[in-house]
């Protein structure tokens, strides 16, 4: 069992994803904005963070959060990040070109919305396994 954090402004989507992952035996926390997510992670770092890209106040807040975790937070820098997004990941949506640069965007993996639950469960299991073997 792992502790997972889902950060997504779409409450419906976040809750359905949480339901599926809880059924898999994980402890899942949902946060609807990135500020609360940082607070939550500082209090209890998750084994895996599942991030959305676009938030109502900032179209690339998910990217910002990923960069913060990797480059600015000593406590959060090693947490695997799975990015879920409704846009095709390699194509810009008003983001800067840096946002779509693989080297610059420090996430562990991408998954495109809508997500097939089987694929999501597999990917989460793989990322958790990779995270634990890396330790």
């Amino acid at each position: 069992m792992a502790y997972l954090l889902i950060v997504d402004d779409d409450e419906d989507f976040a809750n359905t994803t949480a339901t599926v992952l809880r059924k898999e035996g994980h402890d899942v926390q949902v946060e609807l904005d990135t500020d609360d997510a940082v607070q939550s992670m500082e209090n209890k770092p998750p084994d895996l963070a599942i991030l959305d890209v676009m938030f109502p106040e900032d179209a690339s807040a998910g990217f910002e959060l990923a960069r913060f975790m990797r480059h600015e937070s000593e406590k959060l820098k090693d947490i695997p990040i799975l990015m879920l997004t409704a846009i095709n990941t390699k194509f810009p949506l008003g983001f800067g070109p840096k946002d779509i640069d693989d080297r610059w965007l420090p996430v562990t993996d991408f998954l495109e919305k809508p997500v097939d639950f089987d694929v999501l469960i597999d990917k989460v299991a793989r990322l958790l396994h990779e995270g634990s073997t890396a330790d």
Binding site: T16, K90, P92, P97, P114, D116, F117
Partner: protein, 490 residues
């Protein structure tokens, strides 16, 4: 808890979009040319000056042969053409060096102005020696007047004109009024030797005529130049607005499709919860309804995805994506693997004859291109059909990819329309209802982005062949020797 008194009222006024004031447009159009163009002009001035230097040297050498100059009634010029040519060579080299050295905008302007002033000084010397009023040499000042009208603002070109008039008038004053310097002429029998009143009047009239003509030429040339520059500015401004409007449209399209896709992701997730039993048992009939909801959401999401891809391809930001060298075998086999599940569903077999050829572009663009063509070939094939993929190098070393199916085909009269957005032939709708009609529009956009020539051959009932001819590049030519093997990968 925050008390109500601590909450202050804040105000914000929505600003109106800022319009460019009309006089700002005129001011902008009167501005001098951009930095790169000014550097080019400075270099061009230097190149043209070599011709003047050559002419002076030629005239000096010609003057060394007394018989020839006697024949034309010309006086021996002596050393002045060589001295003038020497001065021109020295400062031309200096200006060339300055123009080629990376400098600021002010540095380039200083270079241009220094060239003009130095030229006017040397030209005044040449005018004096050739015969300021007795020959038409004074019209050589017109070159600088007209060029300054083209390159500078109207005010600056007037300064050049006044400088030219001032120097010419100074030369005449020194030569004819103050008589500090002797009158000069290249001709042996010249006016100044007959210093009579009518001759002086003729010379004076010549002087004022010359100045009058220069002013008229300045007025006409600067006016025309200003009109052309304004038109240029208007065109550039219209173009900028068009590009901005296009970008705005693409951005809006992207944002809208994203807004549509996100709720579908939520609907799809919820339907999956029901379908996969996360919410308990559901009667079979209800399950079928949920299956239809899931299938429909999936299809709509795919359509939105295609709209996103199309909008992305139209947006100018695509130009900034990094282009890499892509090997045809890896690319085509990867695309084939993506379409393989649908092919299996339809009982379609792939035959491949792919030679490794290098292509230059954004990998995702080429993936979109081939996945769309391959999935079309599969979807519009008959059950248990065959799709043939080949890749080879054309006669000019250009990569050529062909995708051939033995499917339903496209009637000849409908071929020119198949790349239009949302266009679907009646036959294709009957064969496959689940398509947005955007696949070939995406293919067309990628082809336009890379200059890929697409040829479609089709025979209704027998199949369709898409031939894609990629432009040959240095890299693909280079890989001819290194990359291509004689053994095809099947």
């Amino acid at each position: 808890m925050v008390s109500d008194e601590n909450i202050q009222t804040a105000a914000y006024e929505l600003p109106l979009p800022q319009e460019l004031p009309a006089d700002a447009e005129i001011k902008n159009s009167e501005r001098t040319l951009p930095e790169s163009l000014l550097v080019q002009n400075a270099l061009w001035f230097c190149r043209v000056r070599w011709l003047v230097i050559a002419t002076l040297v030629f005239y000096g050498i010609f003057g060394l042969f007394p018989r020839s100059i006697d024949y034309f009634g010309i006086r021996p010029p002596g050393a002045w053409p060589f001295v003038m040519a020497g001065v021109l060579i020295l400062y031309n080299l200096a200006f060339l060096f300055l123009a080629r050295t990376k400098t600021s905008w002010a540095g380039i302007i200083f270079n241009l102005w220094s060239q003009i002033i130095a030229d006017l000084v040397v030209l005044t010397g040449v005018v004096y020696f050739v015969g300021s009023l007795e020959t038409n040499i004074a019209f050589a000042y017109l070159f600088h007047i007209v060029l300054s009208c083209v390159f500078f603002s109207r005010r600056q070109s007037l300064i050049v004109t006044i400088l030219a008039i001032g120097m010419f008038a100074g030369c005449i004053t020194v030569e004819y009024v103050l008589k500090i310097l002797p009158s000069m002429s290249i001709f042996t029998g010249s006016f100044h030797e007959q210093n009579t009143a009518p001759v002086r009047v003729i010379l004076m009239v010549n002087f004022f005529f010359a100045i009058g003509i220069w002013l008229v030429v300045w007025y006409l040339a600067s006016h025309l130049s200003l009109m052309v520059r304004r038109r240029d500015f208007e065109l550039a401004e219209t173009n900028r607005r068009l590009v901005a409007a296009q970008e705005e449209r693409s951005r809006h399209m992207l944002a809208t499709t994203h807004q549509l896709k996100a709720p579908f992701a939520a609907i799809y997730s919820n339907a999956q919860l029901l379908l996969q039993g996360y919410c308990g048992d559901i009667p079979d009939e209800a399950l079928q309804v949920i299956q239809r909801i899931t299938a429909r959401s999936r299809r709509l999401t795919a359509e939105i995805q295609e709209m996103l891809q199309l909008a992305n391809l139209s947006s100018t930001s695509q130009q900034s994506l990094p282009r890499t060298k892509i090997v045809s075998t890896e690319l085509l086999l990867w695309c084939k693997s993506q379409v393989a599940p649908i092919a299996r569903e339809h009982g379609i077999v792939f035959k491949t004859d792919i030679r490794p050829v290098a292509m230059i572009g954004v990998e995702d663009h080429f993936k979109m291109l081939f996945i769309n063509l391959l999935s079309n070939a599969v979807r519009y094939s008959h059950r248990n059909g065959q799709v043939h993929i080949s890749c080879y190098r054309g006669p000019n070393s250009e990569p050529i990819v062909t995708i051939t199916d033995n499917g339903i085909g496209i009637p000849a009269e409908k071929l020119p329309r198949i790349f239009e957005e949302h266009y679907r032939t009646k036959e294709s709708v009957q064969h496959n209802k689940e398509s947005s009609g955007l696949g070939l529009a995406i293919v067309k956009h990628v082809a336009e982005l890379y200059g890929i020539r697409i040829r479609v051959e089709s025979r209704p009932g027998f199949g369709t062949k898409f031939e894609l001819k990629f432009p040959a590049s240095d890299e693909t030519l280079g890989s001819d020797k290194k990359g291509e093997t004689k053994w095809p990968i099947s």
